[in-house]
């Protein structure tokens, strides 16, 4: 059974890109366009890993991250952002990883694999 990865991003094209790329990697990819939708999916369906964008309307990735951790402290979350400046902070004490968004998804794919391996999911 393939691992269930939730991709949270407000941009449809990005969600599509993630879905295609990660599906191709063999993951069961679920999409959410906001933090609240992501929380619902996590609560209702359960996921193995979340790829979370930071800059989003309504509630941003940071707030969503806090809510997700409240819901499930052990749920691995990879933060993705166009900004690199939060990387140091969030890898240390908030998310499991922090990836600067780029068209080349090699780093993301490798990070997912590492976390799965580390956490033995």
């Amino acid at each position: 059974m393939s691992l269930r990865v939730l991709v949270v991003d407000d941009e449809e094209n990005i969600r599509l890109l993630y879905k295609e790329e990660l599906t191709e990697e063999g993951y069961d990819v679920v999409l959410a366009e906001s933090g609240y939708e992501a929380l619902d999916i996590v609560k209702e369906q359960g996921v193995d890993l979340v790829v979370l964008d930071i800059k989003m309307p309504k509630i941003d990735g940071i707030e969503t991250l806090r809510l997700l951790k409240d819901e499930s402290r052990d749920l691995p979350v990879i933060l993705c952002s166009a900004y690199g400046q939060y990387k140091q902070d969030f890898c240390t004490w908030a998310s499991d990883a922090y990836i600067v968004k780029t068209a080349d998804l090699t780093e993301l794919k490798a990070t997912i694999k590492n976390i799965i391996k580390e956490k033995n999911i």
Binding site: L16, L65, A82, K101
Partner: protein, 787 residues
């Protein structure tokens, strides 16, 4: 001729308008003839001598002999003692009646002695002798004639007394007029001695004036009619000294018998000495010597009346001197007041003019113009020196004054033509470059005197904070530029009890001495000038600071603009980055679908490559903004950061009734840190404390120096009385999203921890559950390079 005719003839003579001497002579001779008398005489009584003098006689020889007869002469005896008419018919020579007035040899056998007197006074006796008998009718006739002569003499005496009184009054009036008309002591004294001599028939009058306080003679006024006395001799000077010492008049009625003159052989017969008293001090003595006899009165001694008149004169003189001195004092006070008013006017004008400028050069020019202009302080030349603390020297700033006498004449003549007030001279802007600079000015400007130089009047004035007057010395210590003035004054310029420089003045052209009044006024003026200079300097500093502030503000604006630009760039980059990611991502997906040799793959690769290049550019832009924000390390004052933070919470703490106690060590070293991060860390801690004390409490902030792992550190302690943290959750407090507060984000302490860690520092918690919590931040002063 009947007795009646004789009497009628005598009455006619006595009432004629002739002089009394002539009338008496005529009566005597007429009686001798008509009554067939052997001789007839009129003896007048001289009080001073207590003798009778034969003033008139039918025998001229007796008058010419100036014959004195004692009152106890047998011929006069009853007439004098009993004041009654004496007629003797049986005159016989013998021891019981031996009078030289009676010529026994001529064989006279009758005589008469008739007193010339009234109930109050005794004038004299009319005496006569006759051959043969004096009839009862003769006796009656002679008695009536003696009454007529008595009346005549009394009338004459009264007339003389009246004339004397008139003389006394008119002379007194003249003296009084002297006091009113004269305002010069010399004139008054000269006239006074003359008038007193006239008034009291004194041969000599001397007025000696003494200096107040010392008592030494300052002036002597003498009026001499006839005889000259030894006024400076020991006798007179001794009496004067005694009168002065006792401060009471001395009356020597008869020097020949007076004990004070015994053994001195006085050259005067009678004298009066009266002190002139002012403010319990004897300021003079009036001395009178010898009274002159008048026509009728032969007294040569001063009387009690004379004495009283003299006392009254001295009192008037004392009053006059008092008035004169008071007038002089009043005049001097008025002058002093006028001088002060004029000084105040000058000071007012100068301060008004000084207020018109804040430019130091202009101000100095105004100050020295006021010191040298004739309507101002009027010195010939003036220089101004200010202390240069950086160089530790006294530095010449400006000098005003002519170089030579000729130049001075030319300038002063020119200035006189322009009739301007002081204010008009110094009000206009004087700092224009058109002024002619004197050599003196150039010399002064080149002067630098070390503040520790000894033997320099200017440095002495600075050290002693008071004016220094130099009457014989070189103007300046530097001989190479010494000027020709040998007399000058230096006053310090003082502002707020601090000497900031000196003003040097001289009168090298006019050679007029600098008085202590000049110096006092200059000192007063220099205090005002000192304040004005200080104000001008402060104003200039303020202007400089303001300009720096403007500069900083403009730089800040610039940097804020840059920051805003950075923010904007970051925002734009983000917006571009997402679509770019989609383009790049899908291009990569397409790329996988084309065969390696497909020509379309080349195009796809171009898209992938260009997107990568754009992403790289965007990342550089975003990274730059990040560096700008995060790597901004500089030396910062931790106390300043804390004070700024506390100010931010003022209102909140007031509302929550929180008191603050700060114990900041202001000797802390500057810490190399990111200002924003440290400030944010402190803000977060203070914010937590305030939230822990919603109703009331106490916030304490302490800073101190510390040594951690052999490195200088600064410790910040922030304590509250908010009840502390439950020990069970204490280990979570620095975790992100951990919060015990409703609505808290749980990021405050996490961010604080992160920021302190960025500085290689540490943060510890001293938790007292139920009481409060203390956060202890330790920041190394300098981070290790590898860190």
């Amino acid at each position: 001729m009947s007795e009646f005719d004789v009497l009628a003839q005598v009455v006619e003579i006595t009432h004629s308008k002739e002089a009394i001497q002539s009338k008496i002579d005529k009566v005597i001779n007429y009686l001798k003839d008509k009554l067939d008398l052997n001789g007839i005489h009129l003896l007048l009584f001289k009080e001073d001598e207590n003798m009778f003098l034969i003033n008139y006689s039918s025998n001229n020889e007796l008058v010419n002999q100036h014959k004195w007869i004692p009152p106890d002469d047998p011929a006069l005896f009853d007439a004098v003692t009993a004041k009654r008419n004496v007629f003797i018919d049986d005159l016989r020579p013998g021891a019981d009646f031996d009078s030289e007035l009676i010529d026994h040899a001529s064989g006279c056998n009758a005589m008469f002695a008739l007193p010339i007197c009234n109930s109050d006074s005794f004038i004299g006796v009319m005496l006569g002798e006759k051959h043969g008998e004096l009839t009862k009718l003769d006796e009656k006739l002679l008695s009536l004639i003696s009454i007529e002569i008595t009346g005549m003499i009394y009338n004459e005496s009264n007339t003389i007394k009246l004339k004397e009184k008139i003389h006394e009054l008119s002379t007194s009036f003249s003296i009084s007029k002297l006091f009113i008309k004269n305002d010069k002591l010399d004139d008054l004294c000269n006239k006074m001695v003359e008038h007193i001599s006239t008034l009291l028939y004194s041969n000599t009058v001397m007025l000696e004036l003494f200096a107040q306080g010392t008592g030494t003679t300052v002036q002597k006024y003498v009026f001499n009619k006839d005889k000259v006395y030894d006024l400076d001799g020991a006798l007179i000077q001794g009496i004067i000294d005694e009168t002065k010492r006792r401060c009471r008049p001395t009356y020597i009625k008869d020097a020949s018998t007076d004990a004070r003159c015994s053994g001195s052989d006085p050259d005067f017969r009678s004298a009066l000495f009266a002190p002139v008293e002012y403010n319990s001090d004897v300021i003079g003595i009036i001395a009178l010597f010898d009274k002159e006899a008048n026509l009728f009165v032969t007294k040569k001694h001063f009387s009690e009346d004379d004495f009283n008149i003299l006392i009254s004169m001295t009192n008037q003189l004392a009053n006059f001197v008092e008035n004169l001195l008071m007038t002089k004092e009043r005049e001097s006070i008025i002058k002093e007041k006028e001088d002060k008013a004029s000084e105040l006017k000058i000071l007012y004008d100068v301060s008004k003019a000084m207020m018109t400028t804040m430019k130091l050069d202009d101000l100095l020019q105004k100050i020295l113009t006021a010191v040298t202009i004739s309507g101002g302080l009027g010195f010939n030349r003036a220089g101004l020196f200010l202390i240069n603390h950086r160089m530790n020297t006294l530095q010449g700033m400006l000098c005003i004054g002519p170089d030579t006498g000729e130049e001075a004449d030319a300038i002063w003549t020119e200035l006189k033509k322009e009739e301007k007030t002081l204010l008009q001279w110094i009000t206009p802007d004087l700092s224009s470059g058109s002024r002619k600079r004197s050599q003196f000015d150039e010399k002064v400007k080149s002067i630098r005197i070390p503040l520790d130089e000894e033997e320099n009047a200017m440095i002495r004035a600075i050290d002693q904070k008071k004016a220094v007057m130099v009457t014989n010395g070189s103007y300046l210590s530097n001989k190479a530029i010494s000027l020709d003035s040998t007399s000058y004054a230096v006053v310090p310029l003082i502002s707020k009890d601090k000497v900031i420089g000196v003003i040097v003045v001289d009168n090298s052209i006019t050679k007029q001495p600098i008085t202590s009044d000049d110096l006092s006024f200059l000192t007063l003026f220099s205090n005002q000038a000192g304040l004005a200079i200080e104000n001008s300097t402060l104003y200039s500093n303020l202007k400089k600071t303001l300009s720096e502030l403007k500069d900083t503000h403009s730089k800040l604006l610039h940097s804020e603009k840059l920051a805003a630009l950075g923010e904007m760039a970051a925002g734009v980059a983000h917006e571009i980055k997402n679509p770019l990611m989609a383009i790049g991502g899908f291009a990569r997906r397409l790329d996988k679908r084309f065969a390696e040799d497909s020509p379309d793959k080349t195009y796809i690769n171009i898209i992938i490559k260009e997107v990568s290049r754009l992403e790289k550019i965007l990342n550089e832009i975003l990274n730059f903004s990040k560096e700008e924000r995060e790597n901004n390390f500089a030396l910062n004052d931790i106390n300043k950061i804390i004070n700024e933070t506390l100010i931010m919470f003022d209102n909140e703490m007031l509302e929550n009734n929180i008191t603050t106690e700060t114990n900041l060590n202001y000797d802390l070293p500057m810490v190399l840190c990111n200002y924003q991060q440290v400030k944010q860390a402190v803000i977060n801690l203070v914010n937590n404390s305030c939230q822990a004390m919603p109703r009331s409490g106490k916030l304490s902030v302490t800073t101190r120096k510390s040594l951690v792992r052999n490195k200088d550190s600064v410790v910040i302690e922030i304590s509250d009385t908010g009840g502390g943290v439950n020990n069970e959750v204490l280990h979570n407090i620095f975790n992100p999203f951990f919060t015990t507060k409703d609505g808290g984000t749980g990021l405050g302490l996490a961010i604080t921890h992160r920021f302190i860690a960025n500085h290689s520092g540490s943060i510890e918690v001293d938790n007292k559950p139920g009481l409060g919590v203390t956060f202890i931040i330790n920041l190394p002063v300098k981070m290790d390079e590898e860190e």
